[in-house]
C-alpha cells in the first residue's frame, strides 16, 4: 500500500496514526505540509527506521516550496509528481491520512 500523509508531525497526529497501522510492505509519501516531517528535527526519529529501509518518500515540489531541501533527514527519497503517480501504480491501494 501507499500511505500519503499531508500534515506536519508538529500539527497533527496523522503521521503517528499512519505509523501505527502501516504493514511491512507499505511505503509512506509525505506531501504538502507532510514534508515537514521529513526534515531533520526533534521528531525525525519517528521515521528514521522506515527511511533507512528506503520506504519514506517526500514530494520534491513541496519540500522546495517550504525551503527545507538542505534540512532533510537521512534516507528520505524525493519524488516529483510523476514519481507520485508511479508510487500509486506500484504500491496498490492508496490510503490518505487526511
Amino acid at each position: 500500500m501507499l500511505h500519503t500523509v499531508n500534515k506536519s508531525v508538529f500539527e497533527r497526529n496523522s503521521l503517528q496514526s499512519c505509523l501505527n497501522t502501516i504493514d511491512d510492505s507499505s511505503v509512506i509519501l509525505l506531501i504538502e505540509d507532510g514534508v515537514i516531517s521529513a526534515a531533520k528535527h526533534t521528531k525525525s526519529a519517528l521515521l528514521a527506521d522506515l527511511a533507512a529501509a528506503g520506504r519514506v518518500f517526500a514530494l520534491q515540489g513541496d519540500v522546495e516550496a517550504r525551503g527545507i531541501s538542505s534540512k532533510l533527514a537521512d534516507n528520505i527519497k524525493l519524488v516529483d509528481y510523476e514519481g507520485f503517480v508511479d508510487l500509486v501504480v506500484e504500491h496498490g491501494t492508496a490510503v490518505s491520512w487526511v
Binding site: 497501522t21 491501494t93 490510503v95
Partner: protein, 134 residues
C-alpha cells in the same frame, strides 16, 4: 459488477467539521452497490459513535441516530481502534450499541462494532481495495 473491499476511514470528531456527517452519507449510498464495506474509527473519529450525543445546545442536527440504521443496510463491520479509545479515556461501554441481524444465523442480533488493536487494523487495511478518507 465486481465486488471490492471498501474501507471508510474516519478520523475526525463530529460537529466541529462536516466530514463525519458527509462520510456517513457516502456509506449509506455505498450500501446499494453491494460491495464489501467496512468502517474504521481511528483517533477522534471514535467520537462519531459515542453514545449520549445531544446537539440541542448547538443548533445542529444530531445524526448519531443514523448509525443505528447501518445494520439494516448490511453494513455491519465497524472497526474501532482500541488504542484510540484508551487514549481518550473511553471504553466499549461509551459507544452506541450498534447491531445487525445476521441472516445466516436465523436473524440473530449481533454487534456491528468491533474494537480492534492496531495490529488487527493493520491487517484489515492491508486487505482493502479502496480506502476512502474523510
Amino acid at each position: 459488477m465486481a465486488t471490492k473491499k471498501f474501507m471508510y476511514l474516519n478520523r475526525k470528531a463530529p460537529y466541529g467539521t462536516v466530514y463525519a456527517l458527509e462520510s456517513l452519507e457516502v456509506v449509506l449510498i455505498a450500501a446499494a452497490f453491494e460491495q464489501d464495506v467496512s468502517l474504521a474509527f481511528i483517533d477522534d473519529g471514535v467520537y462519531q459513535i459515542v453514545k449520549d450525543q445531544n446537539t440541542d445546545g448547538i443548533g445542529m442536527k444530531n445524526f448519531s441516530k443514523t448509525y443505528h440504521a447501518l445494520g439494516d443496510y448490511d453494513i455491519n463491520q465497524l472497526f474501532v481502534s482500541a488504542e484510540s479509545l484508551k487514549e481518550r479515556g473511553l471504553s466499549a461501554d461509551d459507544l452506541m450499541p450498534l447491531v445487525y441481524e445476521d441472516e445466516d444465523d436465523d436473524w440473530a442480533e449481533k454487534p456491528s462494532v468491533k474494537i480492534v488493536s492496531n495490529a488487527e487494523l493493520k491487517e484489515l487495511m492491508s486487505e482493502q481495495d479502496v480506502c476512502l478518507s474523510f
